[in-house]
Amino acid sequence: MQWFNLSDPINLISAIGAVVILGLTAFVSNFYINKMKTSNPKGELSGEEWDGIGKFKNNVPFGWGICFMFVMIWGFWYIFVGYPLNSFSQIGQYNQEVAAYNEKYQKKWENLSQNDLVAMGESMFLVQCSQCHGVTADGMQGKAQNLTHWGKEEGILHTIKYGSKGLGFPLGEMPPVELSEADAKAVAAYVMGEISEVKNTKYPADVAKGKEVFNTAGCTACHGEDGKGMDGSAPDLSTYGTSKFLSYVLENGKHGEIGRMPSFKFAQFNEVQIKALSAYIESLEDLN
């Protein structure tokens, strides 16, 4: 019988408690039943009588009266002085809760492994992003940005082919660029392998060619020769594929062809969270 395993202290304490309560109940009821049979109360009757049942004029027991008065005084003190009616603040309680949480958060996530980041990013993604980008992050058939290729070579290919708008840079909308597929791929390789801080591309052989195309096909006119976007006139490609680019989009939102992504400033993600979200998006396999 597992539920009656007395080596478990909780079971043992409960069993002892049950026996004690039974014993006490038996003793007390026996005491009062005997008393009812034999006792003969004395005292002054009040004189009122209801169908033969009278009422004693006994005083309140002294000790009980003292306790009662003490509790009343304490009650007044508690309500009006100790913890006045108006002093409770739900927002104060919330701030305490958040402070305690942040402290715990700091401690728990001090040294994050890449896997931890991805796991944290995934749970954030499911709560905050999946409603528009889809549970699989593929943008639900073009309803939102396909994040499985965003921040990777495929994302750059897509941008070259279809252009981009809505990030709110002074140079405005990027029109579709007419490039052969091989050239576009080379540019993507150059951006990911050389310009971006990621410094890693799937097509390392194309980087040199990509640099040439980048400089001749007109990319430099907006993004600058170093790809850094000429001091904020156009997107800084050296951040492409990193959490910096993501935090820019989260801060400003994007009003593109597909629709509007609102700014997520209201959610007040901290740096670790944005890094985690970025790590999760980077970890996604390209879905098309």
Binding site: I91, I258, G259, P262, F266, A267
Partner: protein, 230 residues
């Protein structure tokens, strides 16, 4: 004392009322001390948003959605910043709702966009797999009620002194002007929508209920606390 009260029913009733009202007074009186005032910069609903609010009420959205983010970490993580009493100052009646079959909507304007609502109302499962929300296709067919919305906004202004027509605030004006603003505002929403039916109807001068509802949902968020147009 009690013996005396027992013999005097009138005074007994008085004592009874006094004792039993203490609990109520303790609950009610502090509420008067901290009266709810509109937050600084809170703007009233535009006529289109008012029409959307009426759609929200007539469709019974409050049966499944609440509009009150409580100050708990778990709530603010999911729904956005907690609600403040002053944010409801121009809500007559407030639409807090008591159930959360669906998510809380008080910050929905912060994190959803017009085209998302468009997809969602037409076919909820197309953007939220597993959603049990019904589709609201009839909102794409029926026209928004400008007259009632204008009447409500006008009543708010005249009877309840809601600050319409102040400098930098929401304009109400006379019925002609309000209608113009109604169309201007709807135009922006329609431009962001994907539904062709609604776009076509707008060309013909009709504003569907869905447009008003989306305008209202977009207004639910922190942007309402800043002057409109920002």
């Amino acid at each position: 004392m009690f013996g005396w009260l027992e013999r005097n029913p009138f005074f007994f009733s008085l004592a009874f009322v006094f004792v039993f009202s203490i609990a109520g007074l303790v609950e009610i009186l502090p509420g008067f001390a901290k009266t709810a005032r509109p937050l600084e910069g809170l703007r009233p609903y535009s006529v289109l948003e008012t029409a959307g609010r009426q759609v929200y009420i007539e469709e019974g959205c409050y049966n499944c959605h609440s509009q009150l983010v409580r100050p708990f970490k778990a709530e603010t993580d999911r729904y956005g910043p907690y609600s403040l009493s002053g944010e409801y100052a121009y809500d007559r009646p407030f639409l807090w709702g008591s159930k959360r079959t669906g998510p809380d909507l008080h910050r929905v304007g912060d994190n959803r966009s017009t085209d998302w609502h468009d997809y969602h109302m037409w076919d909820p499962t197309s953007v939220v797999p597993g959603s049990i929300m019904p589709a609201y296709k009839h909102l794409y067919k029926n026209n928004a009620d400008f007259e009632t919305a204008y009447a409500e906004a006008y009543t708010q202004k005249v009877v309840f002194a809601v600050p319409y027509d102040i400098e930098g605030g929401v304009k109400l004006g006379d019925i002609q002007m309000a209608k113009e603003l109604f169309y201007q505002e709807a135009e922006k929403i329609v431009a962001d929508m994907k539904n062709e039916q609604v776009k076509e109807a707008f060309q013909k001068g009709e504003i569907k209920k869905i447009v008003a509802l989306i305008a209202y949902l977009n207004s639910l968020g922190q942007s309402r606390m800043a002057p409109k147009g920002e």
